[in-house]
Symmetry: C2
Subunit: 473 residues, 2 copies
């Protein structure tokens, strides 16, 4: 019996022609962003790293030995990053660290072999290697990692992770150079939240699949509410800092209300607007509200609102969607609202992190894997692998390395000034947000829901190969 | 831009050859179940109705005029029932009642036209007509329905609904005959819960799609937990009376623990077994637990357990999955358990009621629609339309009408003895349950999860045309 996983194992990711032969690639220097001067003083050896773009060339260097590690929450496409590295290096040159960054400290790894790689091609999850959230911070940890990469004679360490993990990649790259270790460090931009974006990186891998999975569920709920005609669905979506997933899902499904953390709308204003809307729907007492996970953290006056209603409850103990529903119910009661208001809460998060990667994410993450291997082959370090022009067909994608140090800003974390990669938030002057703005009033009033349906892997390419709408904007 | 909904509109449901030409069908009488004698006394005019099976024949009768109504919660395939009726009757002969059974009392309807039907082909939801949960019970309601069907000169009334709606269909059929009205009444077995099953009806439509949607999410969570290695996911699934959906999803995804309401396991035993399991996973502190929505209602000693911990809280106010998690946490604390236990709660319900119907549900519900129209064409009443041999290819499916009265049993509801159609529960001696039993011990210990992935509509028929596993057993 053929399963979808079997079928996906046979899928050949689409990539630019250049990436199909690692021996035919060279890198050229391109315009590089400036480095913050405080950051530069902390990264004397890597802050002058150039941005690189892949181009035609040739390379006869020996294939390097690479170690790869997953860091943080899973994202669809992680296994294809590993497959891309493996296919570039050939057998015998790739090890995988087991269980996240802890493993590059302790040296827990396995050699990756073809049969195992083949089993995980185009499969969701991070289960080939596991993952973890340990930060490499102490001198002892750095020393331990150095010992591990030296002992394993690694030419490269590829860290597949989010903003924190890429900050760690920058620190390790600088440290290795300082210690005269020969291991290059390359970061790969992973996060379903989509909050790694910079002039080189249009979006992180995993975002497309997660948004499609959530949008399937949202579309189904929207379809249900116009069938049942009685429920107000409050749907929280993952994204603690940035609302990209909520924005993307809104553009896909056309909910009545889309809350965006980055708007920093005062909480009471939000509740009043929601109450106005519920009142306006007395004859159509149903609707869809999208709520980004980080809404309450981003809302200036919410601490006050929480104290009023719950005493001194810790924000992290509050379920955003439930708190919103309860606050709205209170407001409606205060207004003496007599209509129907039957709210239901949903949260989609973990469901989107390990689904079968969409064609877009399968292609994109595979291209990122090859790119990271090529950067190590060319002895480049302190870079984030990137694939550009993602809004065009894969044959037209560009690829290369974006220096990590220009992405770092000095920020205070837990009272200590540190270099960190800022999370990219929704730009209220950007085209995706403006696309939402343009439609918001109509969607609020009418039930203009779209039901994009489940992620498809066969059939018309317009459906199977679609790309994130925020990239299309 | 082609959407999945567009693509699905073009899908031609696969049906038995006989159903492709309504003029070539006759019905033959087949073995009929006995009617309870108390029921028979309440249904003097319909209790001798024969079971019918479609066969080759010919029919020159004039096409009837039919009204169709959706009743209760939506289920994927509802629109194809309507399309099947429409395609059989031809234009001008089908009206749809708007907003559920209320509409057959008030006479709220619209004539259904080809363009609208075409728009809704193979689409999820009940939004073409809306739905509702009103029961037709009072003499005034019966009289009002009679007036409506007479005024509209309906030859047939097709009620698409669950157990209660089909009970209503039986009552209306008897009443119409008593009042010498010419309107035939046909029920169509709908419910995602799968709790309409009888010797003629293998499963209700909608079940397959809902189970596939939930299984996609469960598979993703399972994949997440073997990647993150730290969460215990407690996943509640719709099914207040019967655990068919939970059983089907378990057979598809192989969770560690599958709770089945029908086992009526004492609550404290359940909690102790769960605690033993969590303790046994100290080195692998993660897992997947499926919880049927009706678990607490079915558990004999749960009222006591609730009183112990919560005082006199009403069962309907309790979130089953949360209560289970909390009770388990208490038990672990009592045992002085020092390992990791990070539980997360999920509920999948509404998400499964309005998804794009699977090929199986699209085919099956379309065949049910045609069958119900043919039964009216042949002036048959008091029947549930059925399609049989669903475990074979559609070309081999049988179809016909199952008398409603033998399905009725006298039961006390709200203190009144009434004829009702019993919900079909999971049979603890049946093959599907035994298939679970056979694997339970292994699944509990190991992470043998399957990730079936999102519902597919194009590609290999082994994937797109799969049928429920409980039918395959």
């Amino acid at each position: 019996m053929l399963t979808l996983s079997d079928q996906r194992r046979r899928y050949k990711p689409k990539i630019p022609a250049l990436l199909q032969d690692p021996r035919s690639v060279a890198f050229e220097k391109i315009k590089t962003l400036d480095v913050d001067h405080e950051v530069a003083s902390l990264f004397p050896l890597t802050s002058k790293t150039s941005a690189l773009k892949g181009c035609e060339g040739s390379c006869t260097l020996q294939m390097p030995k690479i170690g790869v590690v997953f860091s943080g929450g899973p994202a669809p496409g992680g296994h294809n990053v590993v497959a891309g590295i493996f296919d570039t290096l050939g057998a015998g040159n790739l090890i995988g660290f087991l269980g996240g960054p802890d493993a590059i400290v302790s040296g827990s790894y396995k050699e990756l072999k073809k049969a195992e790689i083949d089993h995980y091609r185009n499969q969701g999850g991070f289960d080939l290697l596991g993952s973890g959230r340990t930060k490499i911070e102490t001198p002892e940890q750095f020393q331990a990692v150095l010992n591990v990469v030296k002992k394993l004679k690694l030419d490269g360490l590829v860290i597949v992770g989010g903003d924190d993990s890429n900050t760690n990649a920058a620190l390790l790259a600088e440290y290795f150079l300082k210690e005269k270790a020969l291991t290059c460090v390359i970061g790969v931009p992973k996060t379903i939240d989509g909050d790694i974006q910079n002039p080189y990186v249009p979006i992180s891998f995993g975002f497309d699949t997660a948004a499609k999975i959530y949008s399937e569920m949202i579309g189904n709920l929207a379809h249900d509410t116009v069938s049942s005609l009685k429920y107000f669905h409050f749907i929280k979506l993952m994204g603690r800092s940035a609302s990209h997933l909520t924005l993307e899902c809104a553009l896909k499904t056309h909910p009545n209300i889309t809350l965006i953390s980055e708007e920093k709308k005062p909480f009471q204003t939000q509740i009043k607007e929601l109450a106005d809307w519920v009142e306006s729907r007395a004859k159509t007492p149903y609707g869809i509200v999208l709520v980004p996970e980080g809404l309450l953290e981003a809302t200036l006056d919410v601490a006050g609102a929480l104290k009023d209603s719950h005493g001194n409850i810790n924000l992290s103990g509050i379920s955003t969607e439930t708190f919103l529903m309860e606050s709205l119910q209170k407001e409606l009661t205060a207004r003496n609202f007599k209509g129907k208001f039957e709210p239901l809460a949903h949260f989609y998060g973990y469901e989107g992190r390990c689904g079968h990667p969409s064609n877009f994410d399968a292609n994109y993450s595979y291209a990122l894997g090859i790119t990271s291997a090529l950067l190590v082959l060319h002895r480049q370090t302190a870079l984030m692998a990137y694939v550009g022009q993602l809004d065009r067909p894969p044959s037209e994608w560009t690829f290369g390395g974006a220096p990590l140090t220009p992405l770092l800003k000095m920020q205070t974390r837990n009272g200590v000034l540190k270099p960190v990669i800022d999370k990219a938030l929704v730009d209220l002057n950007g085209k995706p947000y403006k696309a939402l703005q343009k439609n918001r009033a109509v969607w609020m009033k009418h039930s203009a829901y779209e039901n994009p349906g489940p992620l498809q892997f066969a059939g018309d390419p317009q459906i199977t190969d679609s790309i994130p709408l925020i990239l299309q904007c």
